[in-house]
Symmetry: C2
Subunit: 155 residues, 2 copies
DNA sequence: TGTGAAAATCCTCACGT
DNA sequence: ACGTGAGGATTTTCACA
């Protein structure tokens, strides 16, 4: 059990912060019914514990011409740890790959890739993923629409 | 073409803001080589245009006991728009479902669900997704590890 | 943990270029 | 459209109760 011990107020704070990262401690204090100083101390503790990782601004992909979500299932040639690390570094270095999970089941990895259009994706697939030495094959699935996208972990 | 027209400085600003949403305009100004006022005007324009959606704090799922990512492919009974909307409302109202995409191919929807453990997921699946009137069947895939998770849209 | 206050920072805008 | 400058509000931060 290496999870931070949250009480009710911590949870409230996290819920608020996950919805709006830019908000004054005073406003949080009022919302959770505590003093600003108390909130400040709690937030600082949550930060140093690593519960609060960072605060980021969210950009609308469509409005910057990155409207296409593609999910790519990848199967590796071997399960050799070196090859895996190699592939994971590849993933890490490509900003189009927003998410990557090591999976159970038929496929080794699942990637969420965000690109401008199909041609854009084709480029990444042919010149990146499929040509990677550790990759055996892959299967791509295109999102027609993003129904929901949330960054808020339930607490 | 309904995408915002970004110049080089806008892109720099977005890159910075997507990495750190809490940062002063002055610091941004210095980083991009412009005046704070100019940055402020640009950011405001990006906000009103909807490019900058919101700023949020990110929480480490593991540290709050929500360490299990599950991907759930869902097939609908019919493609009746009403049933779809109904299901999408269901998705929207469940905070464990962080992402949901309408998909091309064999499955109608792909969901990313964040839960505490398998038992937790079983509950959602049996008492939520599978029992939903619009859902025909589903297939679940478990993430063994989160290799990469980024919220930054490439700009 | 809460109150209070001090100091620093930051946002915001008017003006001139 | 950009930069300078400055007012004023807001916020962080901490000492003390």
């Amino acid at each position: 059990m290496n999870s931070f011990n949250l009480d009710a107020i911590d949870r409230k704070i996290l819920r608020i912060l996950q919805d709006r990262g830019d908000i004054s401690h005073a406003a949080i204090a009022e919302a959770v019914g505590a003093s600003p100083a108390s909130c400040w101390r709690r937030i600082k503790a949550l930060e140093t514990a690593g519960v609060l990782v960072k605060t980021v601004s969210l950009v609308d992909p469509d409005l910057v011409g990155r409207g296409l979500n593609v999910f790519c299932q990848v199967r590796m040639k071997s399960h050799d740890p070196l090859a895996r690390r190699n592939f994971e570094r590849f993933v890490e270095s490509h900003e189009e790959v927003l998410e990557c999970y090591s999976m159970s089941g038929d496929w080794d990895y699942l990637l969420r890739v965000l690109v401008a259009d199909v041609a854009d994706y084709e480029r990444l697939l042919m010149r990146g993923i499929l040509t990677h030495e550790a990759v055996a094959n892959s299967s791509s699935h295109f999102a027609l629409k993003s129904v929901k996208y949330s960054t808020a972990v339930p607490v």
